[in-house]
C-alpha cells in the first residue's frame, strides 16, 4: 500500500514523527518522487490494514499542524 504525500503541504518533520509513531504497527519505506514523499507500508497486521492509511494521514495532519 502506498501513500503519496505532497511536500508543499505536509512537512518533512511531521512525516518523520508520524513514521516514528507508526513503525511498531507496520514496516514503512519512505522515498521521494518529485514533489511527493512516497510512503510504502509493508507487513501490516491483520485488522489494521483497512484503517491504517487513513489514521496515518490524520496523524500526519496533526503533526504538520504542530510544525506550522
Amino acid at each position: 500500500m502506498e501513500i503519496k504525500i505532497n511536500k508543499n503541504i505536509y512537512k518533512e518533520k511531521g512525516l518523520k514523527n508520524t513514521i516514528k509513531c507508526y513503525k511498531h504497527l507496520v514496516k514503512i519505506d519512505l522515498r521521494e518522487e518529485g514533489d511527493y514523499f512516497v510512503v510504502k507500508m509493508i507487513d501490516m497486521g491483520r485488522g489494521v490494514e483497512k484503517v491504517i492509511k487513513d489514521e496515518f494521514c490524520n496523524y500526519l495532519l496533526f503533526e504538520t499542524s504542530k510544525c506550522l
Binding site: 503519496k4 505532497n6 508543499n8 503541504i9 505536509y10 514533489d35 487513513d54 489514521e55 494521514c57 490524520n58 495532519l61 496533526f62 504538520t64 499542524s65 506550522l68
Partner: protein
C-alpha cells in the same frame, strides 16, 4: 468520500489545517495540491451513517470562521503582545509619568518602613529569602533584640 477544492489565494494553508484539525475526531482528512494555488481536501467519514454533504457544508463554514479568526489574531498581534508584556513585567512604555502614578488619597501605598520606622537605629535583619525587584524592595525585616538568657 467527498473532495473539496480550495483556492489558497482566498484561504491560507494554515486556516485549512486548523479547520481540518477540528474535524479529525469524526473524519479522515487528506490534503493534496494538484496544481499551484489549489488544495484538494478529501473527507471520509469514520461513521458509515454520517451525512457527508452536511459535513462538507460544516467544513466550509468552519473554514470561513477559522480564516477570520486567524486574520483578527494577526491584526491584534501587537496589542496582544503589549498587554501580555505589561502584565508580566509591569512596564507600560511611552506613557507620561503622571499617568503611571497611583491615585492614593488615603496614603495607603506608602511603604511600611516610612510610616512606622522613624527610629533610624532599628536593627534590620535580612534573611536568605530577601529579594528585590524594579523599584520595589521586598525586604523581610524583623527586630532581633537578644536578652541575656534567651536561647533563640
Amino acid at each position: 468520500m467527498k473532495t473539496i477544492t480550495v483556492d489558497t489565494n482566498i484561504y491560507s494553508l494554515r486556516s485549512i489545517f486548523s479547520t481540518a484539525y477540528i474535524f479529525l475526531d469524526d473524519f479522515y482528512i487528506f490534503l493534496d495540491q494538484p496544481q499551484e494555488n489549489k488544495v484538494t481536501i478529501e473527507i471520509k467519514s469514520k461513521d458509515l451513517n454520517c451525512d457527508l454533504d452536511e459535513a462538507v457544508g460544516r467544513f466550509k463554514n468552519e473554514l470561513i470562521n477559522t480564516s477570520l479568526r486567524l486574520k483578527i489574531s494577526e491584526d491584534n498581534k501587537k496589542i496582544r503582545e503589549l498587554i501580555v508584556s505589561s502584565a508580566l513585567y509591569g512596564k507600560v512604555e511611552n506613557l507620561p509619568k503622571k499617568q503611571l502614578e497611583l491615585d492614593d488619597p488615603e496614603g495607603i501605598c506608602r511603604p511600611w518602613e516610612d510610616v512606622h520606622c522613624k527610629n533610624t537605629n532599628i536593627h534590620k535583619a535580612v534573611n536568605k529569602n530577601t529579594f528585590k525587584s524594579d523599584g520595589l524592595n521586598y525586604v523581610k525585616m524583623f527586630k532581633c533584640e537578644k536578652k541575656d538568657g534567651d536561647k533563640n
